[in-house]
Amino acid sequence: MAEVTKLIHKYLRHHKKFPHVWCPGCGNGILLGALIRAIDRTRLEKDEIVIVSGIGCSGRLSVYVDFNTLHTTHGRALTFATGVKLANPKLHVIVIMGDGDATAIGGNHFIHAARRNLNLTAIVINNSIYGMTGGQYSPTTPYGSLATTSLYGNIEQAFSIAELAAMAGASMVSRGTVYHTKLLDDLIEKAIQKRGFSVVEVISHCHTQYGRRNKMGNAADMLLWQKNSAVRMEKARTLSHEEMKDKFSIGVLVDRDLPVYTEEYGKVKEMAKKAMTQMR
């Protein structure tokens, strides 16, 4: 308990910005806890860290943490983060997005940030719904699910965010849940430490807007669903497509060393300076 209090005092704007806006039982609070535990483990200074968030319930996370915080426009968090990182590459930039934020309105920015392999950490909290606006279907809402804009069942197919990031060229991609908190701490820590673009997809729940409408019970029931549906990456690789039906893998999906944008740009600067002196 004492340890938790210490972290709260160190990393949260606890005397200013609480209570928060999230529903009781929301996964965003669990992610917030995992995030500050992971950051604490990296031993980075608070001044070195920039938290950039988009719009939606997840976007509010930046208000609560005592770092340089930037609450941007819907879907655009990665574009702002790109500017921050390139203007001052010493900063550790962590981007918090929701599923609609990162893969619908911000889908283009998401794949291009991954392709560019900027040294950023992107955490996408995936609760399969637009929660803040009242439960409309998102790009990760499963086929057939009910939402306020799919009263007869969702007819669109869902994105898999982690696979999308991997295909787009991210250096590291992992998936966790807000149920498996110890794993989540580890995945976020690894992602922050990784050189290059790293993505953590965090499977969460919105019992208020998604669970209620789709008869998945309360927050605790939905956490149990996560427990029962998640399969460790190592095991998942041994299972057939049929066996993985209605399940999802958790752990590190991709971890590879690729040219990192900021380092490549350093070379461009050297070449440009050399060309300039030759010109003079």
Binding site: S62, L70, R76, T82, G83, A87, K90, N108, V268, A272
Partner: protein, 381 residues
């Protein structure tokens, strides 16, 4: 490659190239953009000029991203810029509004081409004047400067950065296809001779720093991320500490200050150039490349014995009412030539309040209004 040899010299440059030189002289060290005619040369020249001065150029996936990136870079302490044309400028409106409310200095160049939509990409227009004023949603003040010569492209760009930094606001440079692509001889001053203004940084301990505090100037000091002043930046209406608020007194406080910081410095921001206005009986009000035609027409009219004068608006927004209004009272008639169906003329008429005759001369066929067209109207007016 001549653009490389900057510093105290004469060069033959395109307007677009001169904008880059102006930006770099003003201290711009970050540029994000997306290719678009007729602004692309700005990106191209930036891509090799910036890394050579330890700056950063990036080609983003679209103009939404470009605008987001320059706001992010400015928050991290770099003077930043993007450049585009109509279709891209439309995409930038969202994050332009963010820069307004979060008070992030940055410069946006819009090289106007014919619209709406894809329009006429390679032809000149002045159709975006009202978009620069009201393009992003919600009430907001904005500074917009127009350029008409290559030399302007250099000096007004420097001025744009200075105003952005001084008042913590986005500043839009409104160029057009003719200005952007015309090559002219320009004089580039030595870097040390250019007046460069930087944003005011906080000089108090972090605990004392109130990031959106009201000051007598209306412009709070701005800390860069990573300097030890950990604060919150948001596109939501916020209190003086930067945190979201819905308290009416705090909402009104922020909104009023945003307007006040521009309005109370009106005389520092407004820029107009006058030609033969002292005894003028007919007045032309022009801006951008059309001002060049108007200047020639004014001289030709004078040569024919007509007491013609002109004012060239360099600052378009806030509209330089304090200069234009007294001038309107002095003359018999006013002509506003522009490459749209009447955008600045609306503003002139609003200021005029029906007192003096205001006529318009509009051209929307993708070509520049010629001196003869203006002259023939001045002869009849």
């Amino acid at each position: 490659m001549n653009a490389l040899k900057s510093g105290g010299c004469q060069l033959l440059l395109q307007g677009n190239e001169a904008i880059v030189e102006g930006a770099i002289a003003a201290g711009c060290r970050f540029f994000a953009g997306y290719p678009i005619t007729p602004a692309t040369e700005i990106s191209e020249v930036m891509s090799y000029r910036l890394p050579a001065v330890d700056g950063t150029f990036i080609q983003m996936e679209d103009e939404i991203a470009s605008m987001g990136a320059i706001v992010g870079a400015s928050l991290a302490g770099a003077k930043s810029m993007t450049a585009t044309s109509g279709p891209g400028f439309s995409l930038m409106q969202e994050n332009l509004g963010f820069a307004c409310i979060a008070e992030v200095p940055c410069v946006i160049v819009n090289v106007m081409r014919g619209g709406p939509s894809t329009g006429i990409p390679t032809q000149v227009s002045q159709g975006d004047v009202m978009q620069t004023r009201w393009g992003t949603h919600g009430d907001h003040p904005i500074i917009v400067l127009s350029v008409s010569t290559t030399q302007d492209c250099f000096s007004i760009t420097v001025k744009a950065f200075n105003l952005a930094e001084k008042y913590r606001t986005p500043v839009i440079i409104l160029a057009d296809e003719v200005v952007a692509h015309t090559r002219e001889k320009i004089f580039l001053p030595h870097p040390g001779e250019v007046e460069v203004i930087d944003r005011i940084r906080p000089n108090m301990p972090p605990d004392w720093y109130i990031p959106y505090e009201d000051t007598s100037r209306g412009v709070p000091p701005m800390a860069a991320f990573g300097e030890g002043y950990r604060y919150h930046v948001t596109g939501l209406v916020h209190d003086s500490r930067g945190f979201p608020t819905q308290r009416p007194d705090e909402v009104k406080g922020l909104m009023s200050r945003l307007f006040r910081k521009i309005n109370q410095h009106f005389f520092d921001i407004q820029m107009v150039e006058e030609e033969a206005t002292e005894d003028a009986e007919v007045l032309t009000v022009a801006y951008g490349s059309v001002a060049r035609s108007a200047r020639r027409a004014t001289r030709e009219a004078r040569a024919r014995g007509i007491k013609a004068g002109m004012i060239q608006l360099v600052t378009l927004w806030p509209f330089p009412r304090q200069v234009v209004e007294p001038m309107l009272r002095k003359v018999r008639a006013v002509l506003v030539p522009e490459l749209n169906v009447g955008q600045v003329s609306r503003e002139v008429k609003r200021v005029n309040q029906g007192v003096t005759r205001v006529e318009t001369l509009n051209r929307i066929d993708g070509n520049l209004i010629t001196p003869e067209e203006i002259l023939s109207r001045l002869l009849k007016i």
